[in-house]
Symmetry: C2
């Protein structure tokens, strides 16, 4: 039996990603974003929604660039911390002992310790309401060699991304392999 | 050591969601979308990207409405199948023995067997490239009572959503609870 939960943001899974930008003085900053995802295959593009109140918002608009660093489950405390404090008050890289590396293709820094990094240049800005959505064209993806599978592809089970849920205010890891995509449905 | 994978769509996690629409004759249809996510808190809004070639594209534009039905891991074959065949050729609800229910707040059907359903009315249409992004305002969320936790919130561990990865063409389930959001980072 289905019960109405009202009009709210409730969906599974949501990611927990670190958005990297430089501020006006060139200081690297990261913030956590969960209202985000892939939004186009050609050109490859990512959508990330931010509130105007964040320090990252102004940085991103000024440089028209951002990175997405995807943490592994061992970084769950760091990704939560990055979402709690503001880059206006704290140098998050320094506080957390993380390494800011200048992206190769865009004017933004990424988190070297996180296994997957996506470099984006700003393509579209959509005002929705409390959040502004930034669509960035993917200029490059960088992946730690240790998370590649035998075919040279980034492996879900090795990246071990963090899943965020606003509903039960929790982080979860990745579980069992359920099946091959574009394949198990053919058996039906 | 990070290795460039080039400019591509590679991110973890991505969802596997069923997008529900009515066609011009009022026949219910669903398709699988993974380029999707929450995109605003106020108004609550969801972003879903579709290719123009899909049957759903025209349906969604014509009725300015869609639903997102979130499958549980036991529906992994169904969500893969829904992404393989087209509603132009097959009645997917009938073929898969799924139940189409008319949404209460928008002109679109949802999958009754899936534990979480989001009803959206079209708010913005953004042409990006191969994909068009549709931003829908959430008018209601419906949740199976069995997936609620003791606080009455939808629980990640009970919903057990499906994670899709294009990189290793796989579906995975949800794993261990890693920590409480907006909390474990305070300990740092």
């Amino acid at each position: 039996m289905k019960k109405s939960a009202g009009a709210k943001t409730l969906a599974f899974p949501s990611p927990a990603w670190a958005i990297g930008t430089y501020d006006s003085e060139g200081k690297p900053n990261v913030m956590t974003a969960a209202w985000a995802g892939i939004c186009c295959s050609r050109p490859p593009a990512m959508a990330v929604s931010l509130r105007k109140a964040t320090y990252t918002y102004g940085n991103l608009v000024a440089r028209a660039a951002f990175t997405i660093s995807i943490p592994s489950e061992k970084h769950v405390r760091e990704i939560d911390r990055i979402g709690i404090v503001s880059g206006r008050d704290v140098d998050k890289f320094e506080e957390l002992g993380l390494t800011a590396v200048r992206a190769g293709h865009v004017d933004a820094p990424y988190v070297d310790e996180f296994p997957v990094v996506i470099e984006c240049r700003l393509l579209h800005t959509i005002e929705i309401g409390l959040h502004t959505q930034f669509i960035g064209e993917v200029m490059d993806v960088k992946v730690d060699e240790e998370v590649l599978d035998e075919k040279g592809q980034a492996s879900t089970g090795k990246v071990r991304p963090v899943l965020f849920s606003m509903s039960d205010r929790s982080y979860h890891g990745v579980g069992a392999f359920l099946g091959a995509a574009f394949s198990i449905g053919k058996e039906k």
